[in-house]
């Protein structure tokens, strides 16, 4: 039985205004998506150059979903983005050079080389690093929300999962707990139609993952994850509801994973027709067309300007990251445990 609400598409400036986005915001969304894709593209080049140890993952196709949620969050909200969510980090203001340093395992990466890939976050921005085990941070997001509830703060936690990750234990325990306690938390599911090679129909048997929200006592919404304005609108609505004491929402953002699971995977198992269809819905192209059509100030020249700025920023970031040192082998034992003095730091707010 389908119980989730299907969010309408956005197509006009009025839709944008309804989502609380002014002209500056609208242009900023574009820049953030470009920056997101640019970081991942350059990361991929670094990987091919042998500068990124291990593997490499991107969120191509998920830029609107990630940037949209990241932009909708309020300053004091706290989030746990995942492997396709570079846009969340970017939208919250994460410095690109430190992301490159993270990729390369350098001391200026957010984990100083202890962890790799997008297992990172700038905690000062209210984000926390993912772990591989999916979706292990969703119960943690509930704990964050519980802290907000206990202290009576008007803050919201956001927990992400992929479509595949919703099959796991942690997801269920977290959503149930949040529903029972009406915690101020929003659950975002990036449904990119695959979990590695496994398609949706081998992962779950309901129409939409968001249909499950009813069983946890809150609302589910299905949103086109390539429609950044709709993502912002629905995220803001969900955050407002949570902030106002209305409890959780499950936001299912539907996209297609436009590259392999990781760099070694050519995703031959994705039907070509499906891939082609979603190529037509590239979130950045789609949004550029929207801006060109509706935003008078956004002309070819502005577009070139934004692109140029992003390019320059990334070139600079790469230089700075490459200058960062590799960690010292002697530091291996450092920081297994926290010292008492480390408490009451900003991220403990």
């Amino acid at each position: 039985m389908e119980s989730a609400r299907l969010a309408p598409a956005s197509s006009t400036l009025d839709d944008a205004r309804a989502a609380g986005l002014d002209r500056v915001d609208l242009q900023e969304l574009y820049r953030l998506m470009l920056l997101t894709r640019g970081i991942e593209e350059r990361g991929h080049i670094l990987f091919r150059q042998g500068k990124v140890p291990g593997s490499f993952y991107t969120g191509r196709g998920n830029e609107a979903a990630a940037v949209g949620v990241g932009l909708a969050m309020e300053r004091d909200d706290v989030g746990f983005p995942l492997q396709r969510d570079m846009g969340v980090h970017v939208a919250r203001g994460t410095e690109p050079w430190r992301i490159f340093a993270q990729y390369m395992g350098r001391v200026d990466g957010f984990t100083a080389g202890r962890d790799g890939n997008v297992h990172m976050a700038d905690t000062r921005l209210g984000l926390h690093a993912m772990v591989s085990h999916l979706p292990a941070n969703v119960p943690v997001a509930c704990g964050v929300a519980l802290a907000f509830r206990i202290r009576g703060e008007a803050r919201v936690a956001i927990g992400w999962s992929g479509d595949g990750a919703t099959s796991r234990s942690d997801w269920h325990e977290a959503l149930n707990f949040a529903g029972v306690r009406r915690l101020p938390v929003v659950f975002v599911v990036n449904n990119n139609q695959f979990a590695y090679s496994t398609p949706n129909d081998l992962e779950f048997a309901t129409g939409h993952i968001a249909d499950r929200a009813a069983g946890y006592g809150f609302g589910g919404v299905v949103v086109d994850g390539t429609d950044v304005v709709a993502v912002v609108r629905e995220t803001r609505a969900a955050l407002d509801r949570a902030r106002g004491g209305g409890g959780p929402t499950l936001l299912e953002l539907v996209t297609l994973r436009m590259e392999g699971h990781a760099v070694h995977d050519d995703a031959y198992y994705v039907p070509k027709g499906l891939h082609d269809a979603w190529s037509q819905r590239d979130p950045i192209e789609r949004y550029r067309a929207f801006l060109r059509e509706h935003l008078a100030q956004f002309d070819e020249e502005t577009d070139m300007q934004v692109r140029g700025d992003v390019k320059a920023e990334l070139a600079d970031a790469l230089r700075r990251a490459e200058a960062s040192a590799l960690p010292d082998a002697d530091s291996i034992l450092d920081g297994l445990f926290a010292d008492p003095g480390e408490l009451d730091t900003p991220h403990h707010r």
């Binding site: 292990a136 964050v144 408490l343």
Partner: protein, 325 residues
């Protein structure tokens, strides 16, 4: 000082810390209205309200995951597992997320998981376990196993104030059986400092939790029987553990028995024995002997459970064998 049961000392420690620090809160199954399966939090919800004494759904990962999240935000959660056995349901969260968080990201997670552990009353395979050894192998967790009321309170308060995830194993068989003096003051018992439960010169027994009393009875038995003088070291905390105290005692006695209630193979006794064999090789006049449960689940029926849990007679036999070496 007042005489209190082990259970009362835990309850008092928790209550006092909740009064002192409003960041401390309690979460677990049936901890609120019911006061917990063993009544450690009895009356807490009336005093602190339903949001500081939370009845959680039957979901250990939700409970411990909530501790991780709330502690990230600066609160000081204390979770209760209804029985220590059920911490297996939060194993992934504890070992994957909580244990690795500070090393990976520098974020401190000041929370405690209280785990009523141990056997001795036909609880069977799922209500009698001592899971401390499994967790002791996972870097990033601190592990506490008090034996006396004084330590139970002091170590709990220390655990709550520690900026790391701490697993606090309270032995169910000590709850009401063991009484002792407990200071009324605000005190803490530091981690990593063993306690000499009984001084002696012939054989050292290193142990913790309920086995401290088994060791004590055995020591009394052999002392009375033939004057053998046994030193009992109560580790109090397993991670970190006080290797200096152990080595110092072995330096005096030259003989070491490691005793624990958990199963033998891969138990924490192996770590202690291996460490002493490595660092105290020259000190030993006899091989280190481990006295531990056999490698089986904890059986239910009394004759089997008795054969499972190390008994005074088992320890006496080990002392005699050792003294004869």
């Amino acid at each position: 000082m007042a005489i209190k049961t082990y259970l009362q000392a835990i309850s008092d420690g928790l209550r006092e810390e909740m009064r002192r620090d409003d960041r401390v809160f309690v979460i677990g199954e049936d901890v609120g209205v019911y006061g917990g399966a063993f009544k450690v939090t009895q009356g807490f919800q009336a005093e602190f309200g339903p949001w500081r004494v939370l009845d959680a759904p039957l979901a250990e990962t939700a409970i411990v995951g909530a501790c991780t999240g709330a502690s990230m935000m600066g609160l000081r959660p204390v979770a209760e597992m209804q029985f220590a056995d059920f911490i297996s349901c939060a194993w992934d969260h504890l070992t994957t997320v909580a244990a690795k968080q500070h090393y990976r990201t520098g974020t401190a997670l000041p929370f405690v998981v209280r785990c009523p552990s141990g056997g001795g009353f036909s609880g069977g395979p799922f209500h009698s376990q001592n899971p401390e050894s499994s967790f002791a192998h996972i870097p990033g967790l601190k592990i506490v196993c008090p034996a006396t009321p004084e330590d139970a309170k002091g170590l709990l308060v220390e655990a709550i104030r520690d900026p790391n995830p701490v697993l606090y194993f309270e032995h169910k068989h000590l709850y009401r059986r063991i009484k002792g003096e407990v200071p009324e003051t605000d005190y803490t018992t530091p981690f990593g400092q063993a306690r000499v439960h009984r001084a002696g010169s012939d054989v050292t027994i290193v142990t913790w939790g309920a086995m401290v009393y088994t060791a004590e009875e055995a020591a009394t038995t052999v002392a009375e029987r033939d004057g053998t003088s046994v030193e009992i070291i109560d580790l109090r905390t397993i991670i970190p553990w006080d290797r200096e105290a152990v080595l110092a005692s072995v330096a005096r006695t030259s003989r070491l028995i490691v005793l624990h209630e958990d199963t033998r193979t891969g138990g924490f006794g192996a770590e202690i024995a291996a460490t002493v064999a490595e660092e105290g090789f020259g000190l030993l006049d006899a091989p280190v002997v481990r006295v531990a449960a056999p490698d089986t689940p904890v059986p239910f029926s009394p004759p089997l459970e008795k054969a499972f849990i190390p008994q005074v007679a088992d320890v006496v036999r080990a002392i005699e064998r050792m003294a004869a070496y």
